[in-house]
């Protein structure tokens, strides 16, 4: 048998990683809220800001958040990007819109999809509302919300978003 001695320059060596996520008390309440179809935030006792998803503390004030706040599933687009490339490990087909949305009653945004609209019509300050999966499919995940869709309400002044 002849021996091939060309250089070996690349070998596939995949790493698989499973991990357990300890949510903690604040994020547990947030995830339990999602299971009920509700967005639950928490208010900072220092600056009154409402965080969602609640992570248990206000990173600005360095204090624990305690008071639960039930939020609307209506929100405002703080900013967004239209993405033309796929997300590794996600079957979503480009182009799609990822927006930073601030739910009514909260002072911080999270990212989610915007759909049921023309991509070129999405704008900062636009009003949107969550579109939920059927209740029978609700689990402990943000994926219970499929996307946010524009609603017929006046835009918010960009300087006032999340204030």
């Amino acid at each position: 048998m002849s021996e091939d001695k060309t250089g070996i320059t690349m070998m596939d060596a995949p790493i698989y990683l499973d991990y357990n996520f300890t949510a903690g008390s604040a994020t547990s309440r947030f995830l339990h809220g999602l299971k009920q179809g509700v967005l639950i935030g928490q208010r900072c006792p220092g600056c009154d800001a409402v965080y969602v998803p609640a992570r248990g503390s206000c990173a600005r004030c360095g204090v624990a958040t305690g008071e639960d706040v039930v939020l609307s599933d209506k929100a405002t687009v703080e900013s967004f990007t239209i993405v033309y490339i796929p997300i590794p490990g996600n079957p979503i087909k480009p182009p799609y819109i990822i927006a930073n949305v601030v739910p009514d009653g909260a002072n911080i945004s999270f990212i989610h999809l915007i759909s049921e609209c023309n991509n070129e019509d999405v704008r900062i300050g636009q009003r949107v509302q969550a579109v939920w999966k059927p209740e029978s499919e609700w689990t402990y995940a943000m994926d219970n919300i499929i996307y946010f869709k524009p609603i017929d309400e006046a835009d918010i002044d960009p300087e006032q978003i999340g204030r």
Partner: protein
């Protein structure tokens, strides 16, 4: 700072898409050897090694510092690894400098690297999180909405980013180490490149590179042992802030402003545009040039884009404060090394050794890096003049 320190050796690799001729160990050793040769020194002259790289997921090699000890000649010597995401190349150089300035070590070798071809940084930055929808689309997906907000606030024309992308690639043509050498680069070419994360086009984003950068930092008493002109370290600063909090200023982060104020104070800089001859600033997406021009105090808030459009940051246009004469992160991006390349290129400029991309008569320069969600900052100022 108690003791004076200077950069006495600089070593880089040629940045390119794939270095299939070397392992990670071979890559870092090449940069380190180049820095030692530049400094006229050998492995025995080094007291400690400070290594930096970005997240381990970028190559899938967990704790690479464990196996790089021998490649970097530090068996039996102190070896530390630094990690601050994309800013790591900068903060690694600062940790190395701090050890010399504190008097703990007299001569330190610092190295940083990334071998992006061995894995996929976009994948590594796009992992699902249990409390969030799986929509994080790499670094571009994170920064694009922040850029959009900058465009809204500043009212800047749509082609400012296109200008930056073109300018930095023109600079890269002067730098033999740069990854991208796009001979026919033009604003039309950038504008016609595909949109990736609107408003970021393909040619407005950094490439994925393999490469390493290294420096030797010496105590004042040993500077004379090396043949090259020293680049004196006049100030170093690092700042961080949380990724997310209510009311966080993401376009013009507080940590960046504080870091700049600190390093300017140490180096006696009162007007950065006037007092600095050039700067190497971490601009991985084109619009970050005008954003950092404001964050770093080169222009008032909302007006950084005017400097870009006037050619102030362009070597080819004879600007008074050229930015990223090496071609910058937009032309070479071995992520973990990218910050250190900024610091090393600033040092090359002040020792008048930057070849075709030299800013004539440069005496004082800024090296800058940022990382994470624009939440880690590292900066230094180097000068030809001893303080």
């Amino acid at each position: 700072m108690a003791e004076l320190a200077a950069v006495v050796g600089i070593g880089q690799t040629k940045y390119q898409t794939k270095r299939i001729d070397v392992s990670i160990a071979g890559l870092v050793r090449e940069a380190a050897r180049n820095a030692l040769d530049d400094a006229g020194l050998d492995w025995d002259d080094i007291d400690a090694v400070i290594l930096g790289k970005a997240p381990d997921m970028f190559e899938g090699v967990v704790m690479p510092e464990l196996y790089l000890t021998d490649a970097l000649g530090c068996n039996g010597k102190p070896m530390l690894r630094v990690h601050t995401a994309g800013s790591v190349g900068g903060s690694t150089a600062i940790v190395a400098a701090s050890y010399v300035q504190s008097g703990v070590f007299k001569r330190v070798l610092t190295v940083s690297f990334e071998k992006q071809s061995e894995s996929n940084a976009m994948w590594a930055l796009s992992n699902p999180q249990p409390f969030s929808p799986h929509l994080n689309a790499g670094a571009g997906g994170y920064f694009a909405p922040i850029i959009r907000e900058y465009m809204r606030r500043s009212g800047a024309p749509y082609d400012v980013g296109i200008k930056v992308a073109t300018k930095d690639r023109k600079h890269a043509l002067r730098n033999p180490n740069a990854h991208l050498h796009l001979e026919d680069i033009s604003m039309a070419m950038v504008e016609e490149s595909p949109m990736l994360w609107d408003p970021i086009r393909f040619l407005e984003a950094c490439p994925s590179s393999d490469g390493a950068c290294s420096m030797v930092i010496a105590h004042e008493s040993l500077v004379g042992d090396s043949p090259r002109a020293p680049a004196w370290i006049r100030g170093t600063a690092v700042r961080s802030e949380p990724t997310m909090y209510a009311g966080r200023e993401e376009v013009n982060p507080q940590a960046g402003r504080d870091c700049a104020a600190d390093v300017y104070k140490q180096a006696g800089i009162s007007d950065p545009r006037k007092d600095l001859d050039c700067a190497e600033v971490y601009v991985p997406f084109s619009w970050y040039e005008p954003m950092w021009l404001e964050n770093l105090g080169f222009a008032p808030e909302g007006e950084g884009w005017k400097l870009t459009m006037e050619g102030v940051t362009s070597l080819d246009e004879g600007g008074d404060t050229p930015w990223n004469c090496s071609g910058g992160v937009l032309s070479s991006n071995p992520i973990g090394a990218s910050g250190m390349i900024r610091f090393a290129e600033a040092a090359l400029q002040v020792r008048n050794d930057a070849g075709e991309h030299q800013v004539e008569g440069a005496k004082t320069a800024l090296g800058h890096a940022y990382g994470g969600g624009a939440q880690f900052f590292a900066m230094w100022i180097v000068s030809a003049d001893k303080p």
